[in-house]
């Protein structure tokens, strides 16, 4: 019985969704986190949403709580890597099969979540990464950033041998194996690229899934201007030197 609903979820997917923990890392996202959580509940009914409040100084925690999410409040700001890992730890401890990461700034469209989940449910992948560049929808991005992303993609291919188009995407989902790996060890500084390399080296299957992304609703990207150049350099150095023995938190 494959009854598809308007969101593209069939019955088995719906059953599996109950095993899904949606992790929303949020640092001072009080303005958007409420909507993100609500949309997540809407698109993935039955999933458990946990907002990792990464030491915010605004009302992120209360907004998330009011939206009905579980809230893990970190006493200090750990950065995106530490926050996401906390979410994975939470998911693993509470016995979830899948975890999905959605940014708290509203950039990721939770209605696309089913696409990310599908390969995990089917058992064809352990980690899925939503890619902006794989066709669906045209994501406009400044050319400088596009160039940087291209460079990173080349580097990652060189390091891993696999082909990735959007290594900096924070829209991803992991299955049980991925959860266990990331709970134990997670690159804190540049998690987007680092996790791909780490997962690849640990023998996990990674799959890119085409998704649509929106312009962020509020706030600025954490990567912009001069800082993006610095970010690039650090990521590259990290990739070249650090990936041999990744700094692990676990």
């Amino acid at each position: 019985m494959v009854a598809m609903n308007a969101l593209g979820l069939d019955a088995t997917t719906l059953q599996q969704v109950r095993q899904l923990c949606i992790v929303v890392p949020a640092f001072n996202e009080g303005r958007s986190v409420f909507d993100v959580v609500k949309t997540a509940y809407k698109s993935m009914p039955g999933a458990h949403v946990v907002v990792v409040n990464d030491g915010s100084t605004d009302d992120t925690a209360i907004q998330a709580y009011l939206a009905g999410a579980a809230v893990v409040s970190l006493p200090i700001n750990l950065g995106i890597g530490g926050a996401v890992q906390t979410g994975y730890q939470y998911a693993l401890r509470h016995g979830f099969e899948f975890a999905m990461q959605i940014d708290g700034d509203g950039q990721h469209d939770p209605t696309e979540a089913a696409r990310l989940l599908k390969p995990l449910i089917d058992g064809t992948a352990d980690v899925t990464v939503g890619s902006r560049w794989l066709g669906r929808g045209a994501f406009e991005s400044p050319s400088g950033r596009r160039f940087g992303m291209r460079v990173l993609a080349v580097l990652v291919r060189w390091k891993t041998g696999g082909s990735f188009t959007d290594t900096t995407s924070g829209f991803r989902a992991v299955g049980r194996r991925g959860l266990e790996l990331f709970t134990e060890s997670y690159p804190t500084d540049f998690p987007e690229v680092g996790t791909i390399v780490l997962a690849y080296r640990s023998g996990l299957r990674i799959e890119e899934v085409p998704v649509q992304m929106e312009k962020r609703q509020y706030g600025r990207s954490s990567i912009s201007g001069l800082r993006s150049a610095y970010y690039m350099i650090r990521v590259i150095v990290d990739l070249l030197i650090g990936s041999a023995d990744h700094r692990s938190v676990g």
Partner: protein, 740 residues
């Protein structure tokens, strides 16, 4: 050679420093060994300077300038050390992250309720959705065994709610001020407490109507010994006041005859009397009343000794019993009748000197009631242990002395002390606002205070202002929602209305002028005169007894000043900015108000101000200062020291003043050093009263020590005691901290 000595001294000093730091565990063993090695190497290098070891070593390595060798080694060492530090820092970072994550997960909150999330999904989703919506998402949830919001004990719910609320407070104070924001927290907490306390049913006791069974106050502070503790405080304070009273001859306190006459008149129904005829100085402020003849003779009693400190009190005539009513003028005639209506009662049964002693007794009883309540409020303030000392310091010998004689000043001071302490405990501490006893103490002391003397309304206003500022908006809002608090506010309003009416009608501030300064004296010299009096004002707050003829001995004066300054220093050091501001204002007002008053009224009243008038406001200085020091600022050692220093100073100061005053009345200040064997004896005899005073004052000091240390703060939050009550208080604490 001088260089040799210098370097040797420096290296040995460094060695000593490292050893000391290691011994005190300021350095970990690992780094400690390193620095020990470094300092030993330094000592070795400087000790071997005369042997040119360094030069030889440099030559051996090929360095022309020997100090460069040291620099090289030092740079290499620092390099290695910094490198090691960075590695250590990275390790610490990782551990920190792990800790933060652990804390985050441990304190995670679950969604408000499963319905919220799913119903939110339902209402947002398109109604035309296909069949999967027919299956409510919630129904399948029990399958997940590790689902966080299931299998949760009520207590944990409370913890979770507490944490949420704490987070709310931290991130969105304005959001958390919604009415009823505690409802999701308090109800389970209180419900659990009620359950634990043996099933007093009723979850209705929280935000609305007061319960019949167990008030939140009793729940918040489950102390079985509260009433007993109050009674013991009361008994000791009453005995202390009585000892002061007995050692003071009748009518040997400022204006006691006038106040006694007023009291005798008020209980005989004459609340006001008729204004006396104008004198040659102008319209008289005195009031003529009809009282038994015995009271008319009182004014003559102190004339022979009142202002002559060398004359023993034995010269005074004894008022004989006489029931014949005569007309008598009293300077206290315009005062409000409350105090006199109570104190005067014994005079109805005993219009004699016995009756006057009994009137003093009643006066002391009244003040002891308020002082004991103040001590009890302070003792209940467990987060501010110094507060008991603050109250003890505020209750100066002057307060006790005035309380033990017929003069409303004692009641004014003690009710103000009670208002300060109870108001502070109610508003500034982390007590629940609905503590019925604190509310009652604040309500009664404020309502009484306002009616006692002419300036009392001003003091009430200033005290209330200070307390409101200290409490902050939230506490006041919380208070205004409390039904019992509203009741007390109504009582206070009625009392104030009466006072306003009385003051407008009878003008108790109309004073009889004293000796006036010469007409041609310039204003500047009026100001400088009153400025010069301010030291006397401070003395008069601590202890200038009799008709201002027994000045406190230096040990009493400086001892008491030292206690005030110790508390003030602690308050200014450790208090929050708000407390410091209030304290500074209080100090400035206490010093400046008398000067301003005296200088402003010198031309038509003379310099009439006395320090004791200031007591109601000045009492706030030690109390607020002591209260400003919250739990955790002072070490237990400091608290132990305070528990030795304060009682010691208190006992010595009181004893010194007591025997000085007693000696002045028994033998006169020009007489022998011993107060015993003089011509005047207090009732029950000099020896008995002295002994009683010594015993009572020592017992009082010991009792203060006892109630300060009776509930050590360490017991306040123990894991075993982590009941819902503690949790709720912890939340209130959190709340208060964030409001700061």
């Amino acid at each position: 050679m001088r260089l040799f000595g210098l370097s040797l001294v420096v290296s040995i000093a460094f060695l000593a420093l490292s050893v000391r730091a290691m011994r005190r565990h300021r350095l970990s063993e690992h780094t400690g060994m390193l620095w020990l090695g470094v300092s030993l190497a330094m000592v070795f290098l400087s000790a071997t300077l005369p042997f040119h070891l360094l030069d030889r070593a440099a030559r051996f390595v090929g360095i022309a300038y020997p100090p460069d060798l040291i620099l090289l080694i030092a740079v290499l060492f620092l390099f290695a050390f910094t490198f090691q530090l960075s590695m250590g820092q990275a390790q610490l970072n990782e551990k920190n992250t792990k800790l933060a994550q652990e804390i985050g997960i441990l304190t995670a909150t679950t969604p408000q309720s499963p319905e919220t999330s799913s119903s939110a999904a339902d209402e947002d989703a398109d109604t035309a959705e296909p069949e999967w919506l027919a299956e409510p998402p919630r129904t399948t949830e029990p399958e997940r065994t590790t689902e966080p919001q299931r299998e949760r004990a009520p207590a944990e719910d409370v913890v979770v709610a507490a944490l949420v609320t704490a987070t709310e407070e931290a991130v969105a104070p304005e959001a958390s001020q919604r009415p009823g924001r505690w409802s999701h927290v308090r109800f389970p907490a209180l419900g659990l407490m009620l359950f634990r306390r043996g099933g007093h049913a009723g979850s209705r006791s929280v935000l609305g109507e007061p319960p019949d069974v167990a008030s939140p106050a009793t729940i918040a502070y489950p102390e079985p010994g509260r009433r007993l503790r109050w009674m013991a405080s009361f008994a000791l304070l009453f005995l202390l006041i009585e000892a002061w009273s007995l050692s003071t001859p009748l009518m040997a306190s400022p204006d006691e005859p006038a106040h006694t006459v007023k009291a005798a008149a008020v209980v005989r129904g004459e609340f006001f009397g008729t204004p006396a005829r104008p004198t040659r100085l102008g319209p008289s402020s005195q009031i003529t009343v009809r009282v038994p003849h015995v009271f008319a003779t009182l004014a003559a009693i102190p004339t022979c000794f009142g202002t002559h400190p060398t004359v023993p009190a034995s010269c005074a005539p004894t008022p004989g019993p006489s029931t014949r009513e005569v007309k008598v003028a009293t300077a206290a005639g315009r005062y409000e009748p409350l105090y006199y209506a109570i104190v005067g009662l014994p005079s109805l049964a005993f219009p004699s000197s016995t009756g006057i002693w009994l009137m003093r007794l009643v006066s002391g009883l009244l003040s002891a009631l308020f002082l004991a309540s103040a001590l009890e409020s302070a003792a209940a303030c467990k987060r501010r242990r110094l507060l008991v000392w603050g109250v003890a310091v505020a209750a100066t010998p002057m307060v006790m002395f005035m309380a033990g004689t017929i003069n409303p000043n004692g009641l004014e001071a003690s009710s103000a002390i009670c208002l300060w302490a109870s108001g502070f405990a109610l508003l500034s501490d982390h007590a629940v606002v609905s503590d019925r006893r604190l509310l009652a103490r604040v309500g009664i002391s404020a309502s009484v205070l306002v009616q006692v003397r002419g300036l009392s309304p001003l003091w009430l206003l200033l005290i209330a202002l200070a307390l409101v500022v200290l409490a902050g908006k939230n506490k006041i809002i919380e208070l205004s929602r409390d039904r019992v608090a509203r009741l007390w506010i109504a009582v206070l309003a009625a009392s104030c209305a009466f006072t306003v009416w009385w003051q407008i009608r009878y003008d108790p501030l109309a004073l009889s002028p004293g000796p006036l300064p010469p007409k041609h004296v310039p204003v500047s010299s009026l100001i400088s005169t009153s400025f010069g009096l301010s030291d006397a004002f401070i003395r008069e707050m601590i202890g200038v007894l009799g008709w201002l003829d027994v000045s406190a001995p230096a040990v009493t004066y400086y001892g008491w000043i030292a206690m005030v300054f110790m508390l003030l220093g602690l308050g200014l050091l450790f208090g929050r900015r708000l407390f410091v501001g209030v304290l500074v204002c209080l100090v400035v007002l206490t010093v400046a108000l008398p000067i301003v008053f005296d200088a402003a009224n010198a031309r038509n009243l003379g310099f009439v101000w006395q320090g004791r008038y200031m007591l109601p406001l000045a009492a706030g200085i030690p109390i607020v200062a002591a209260g400003a020091v919250a739990k955790g600022y002072l070490s237990d050692r400091t608290h132990r020291r305070a528990a030795v220093i304060f009682p010691a100073i208190l006992v010595v100061s009181e004893l010194a003043l007591f025997f000085d005053a007693l000696r002045r009345y028994t033998v006169g200040l020009a007489g022998p050093l011993s107060p015993f064997g003089g011509r005047w004896h207090p009732p029950f005899g000099t020896v008995a009263v002295s002994l009683a005073f010594v015993v009572v004052v020592v017992a009082y000091a010991a009792w203060l020590r006892h109630i300060v240390g009776r509930y050590p703060l360490a017991d306040w939050w123990t894991p075993a005691d982590a009941s819902a009550g503690s949790i709720e208080r912890a939340m209130v604490d959190e709340n208060a901290m964030n409001v700061d």
